[in-house]
Amino acid sequence: MSPANGDAQTTNANMKIKVTVWRQAGPNAQGAFKDYDLDDISPEMSFLEMLDTLNEMLNDRGEEPVAFDHDCREGICGSCGMMIDGVPHGPERGTATCQLHMRKFSSGAHIKIEPFRASSFPINKDLSVDRSAFDRIIESGGYISAPTGTAPDANLIPIPKGVADVSMDAAQCIGCGACVAACPNGAAQLFTSAKLAHLNLMPQGQAERWDRTVNMVDTMESYFGSCTNHGECEAACPKEISIDFIALMNKDFVKAQLKQRRLAGQLFP
């Protein structure tokens, strides 16, 4: 018997669905939607396992499989993400594509699948996009400079539990890009503010707080659109990160402008 490799039969009735998928051969190729019928989809499948099934079928009939990013399939690596019926990660709130299951759809469903849409996320192929602009934001200041070896004892800096908890709420961001894809402006405020809140709330993060804020916001603005408070980002976020963090970022950004001038000697403290 080998339960983990599963020989068992499904008990639930399988579903018939139609998917309409964006196919694009490369970054500069012309793309188009294509329809595929799938007759034997188990409701226990994850959405990505449904795509695996589609790809097996395509491979069998000599068509190139659909490219899509995925890795951990546990909702934590942030690799996966696509527009499912126009919504990043699909209909289930607080759920990444890999954790979405087909039982959330009904048999006969027609599902439209597109890559995350944002000009700052160029398409690599099919459903795979290039999100390296997020890495550029992090490298511009999304860290606490603590070169290896410089750290004092970890308990030297007590951090009130409440602060650590809120900081952790923000730090949970998986960097999937759903917030950008959901935003009518293609803004990355939720991603950026989550990292800023994580670090700016921590006592360890104070030394670089103001520079970090200005640098990350500047970098963000060079790649992404502007926030006009639609709130779509929060609704799409698989980790349900709150847009309150955007308010914190905005406050810190304004303060940082003044602090910087003070530091530069342009204002009296």
């Binding site: 983990a4 970054p27 068509e63 399939r73 690596c77 009130p160």
Partner: protein, 638 residues
Amino acid sequence: MTLDSKIPDGPIADKWDNHKFDVKLVNPANKRKFTVIVVGTGLAGASAAASLAELGYDVKIISFHDSPRRAHSIAAQGGINAAKNYKNDGDSVHRLFYDTVKGGDFRAREANVHRLAQVSVNIIDQCAAQGVPFAREYGGMLDNRSFGGAQVSRTFYARGQTGQQLLLGAYQAMMRVVGLGMAELYNRTEMLELVVKDGVACGVVCRNLVSGEVFSLAGHAVVVASGGYGNAFYLSTNAMQSNVTAAWRAHKQGAYFANPCYTQIHPTCIPASDDFQSKLTLMSESLRNDGRIWVPKDSNDARPAHQIPEEDRDYYLERRYPAFGNLVPRDIASRAAKREVDAGRGVGPQKNGVYLDFGAAIDRLGEDVIRDRYDNLFEMYDRITDENPYKMPMRIYPAVHYTMGGLWVDYNLMSNLPGLYVLGEANFSDHGANRLGASALMQGLADGYFVLPYTIGDYLAPLLGKPIVTTSDPAFKAAETKVSEGSKQLLSINGTRSVDDIHRELGKVIWDNCGMARTEQSLTKAISEIPAIRDEFWTNVRVLGSNESMNQSLEKAGRVADFLEFGELMCRDALHRNESCGGHFREEYQTEEGEALRDDENFAYVGAWEWKGVGSDPALHKEQLTFDNVHLATRSYK
């Protein structure tokens, strides 16, 4: 060739300090003259890349992910061990060392393990300074919990996302040096060949996964931190892209592969539901702190869990191991679950799981406390199974999770190939035959932050002023050709079966014959079956698309091709090791009570295999292990 582990002299507690003084240093101004290539950006790779760049080395970082933050370390849930003794409960460096050697069933190198325990305290300091949001007590101090197999509370955690937060800390440190121009990042780039000239590692050949371009990077040293090989089983808790390729290709260039049969089966995963299952999901072992594991006493008991009264339940771990109860080490918990399921007492629609029940903990502590501790795990379980673990017990079953074996390294973490370093799960060094919970994160970060930055200088210092092998050297050109030809060959077979289909077949053979329990017969069977699957792959696989664009089937095909060779070595290693130890359980070698029976007389060694070609028997090299500080004993968790 004899394996020189280069373990420093002196008492165990002084070895690392003495060694740090003895190793050669590279002058700060000279560090920039040395190029180090880091392959992989998990905890080990990212922490090494950041630390080496901070020291001033010229660092090139390779990650096959779209962003280095996606490395699979991110999925680790439970926590990270450190001998801080913040709980005043009797922990110490020596105790962590002792527990790790014992937990590894006396198949780890004492000196390495002691060093790991020593630097564990620095890791927590380092991570806290980086802003890792560890769980805190109300007074603001760091919180700890006890974790699988430990009788002290030494595990630091960040909700159920410790790996994520530690990795983001290392990733951010690494992106900082990338942003400052102190390191160069190649994302969506896969290492496909290690370049070795005159027996020395001198660079890598890579493929850009978006454009298909094949190119070389030359360096003074290559650091492979590419993770473990659990996906040889097809189904595992590893991420879909986790693979053995970087390590295996280094092996085929001469690096020895040590103890590949040591694979850890994690006791708390969600049981598989069907053939389409693409991977298994782990539920953190921390759940065992508050959850009680049981099965119905009667294998025909069809009642739902909550209707089964206490007297009809068998809390088999608590019964068999009263001292450790539900917290016995992973290998023991896994085999115990297998025993129950094999005996027909499994639960769930496929009868392929055991219950992990929080009812008692919720009654005792209240649902809020449990929610606070495990909510994200409970949610994840609910999403996958459509069952609410606050109301009914979880169903769990063991799954392949971590691999203790890996490329052989000496005390400096250098492989037998000069210039090739191996870090984290990709090496074999610290966990012996079984890894304790919350020790993987510790080892990855120890290697990257606090070991390699010291030991690499010893190798590099004498190379000052000597020219490096450039990428125009014939050795690089030959390796590039090999990579390009390899892709072309895979694309030209155009058979009838998909890569996944063949991978699934391989995984089933390995799981059935070299899984939680192995026998001479099953292993001999696997060794005879794997070459046939390999032949099937090379004659009948279908990989569509081109090499000159993003091609995920092609990427996967290359990795599965390596698993098809590696899987055989794993079985050969398991067959040669005529004993049971930790994650390697040979049914022929067990006590009357069904516990692992080691043979210290004949097998207290590291088995390091040398590649001799496809289909040829590999050569075994042995590194004898000595236990001067922790006395060889039979593990007992009763």
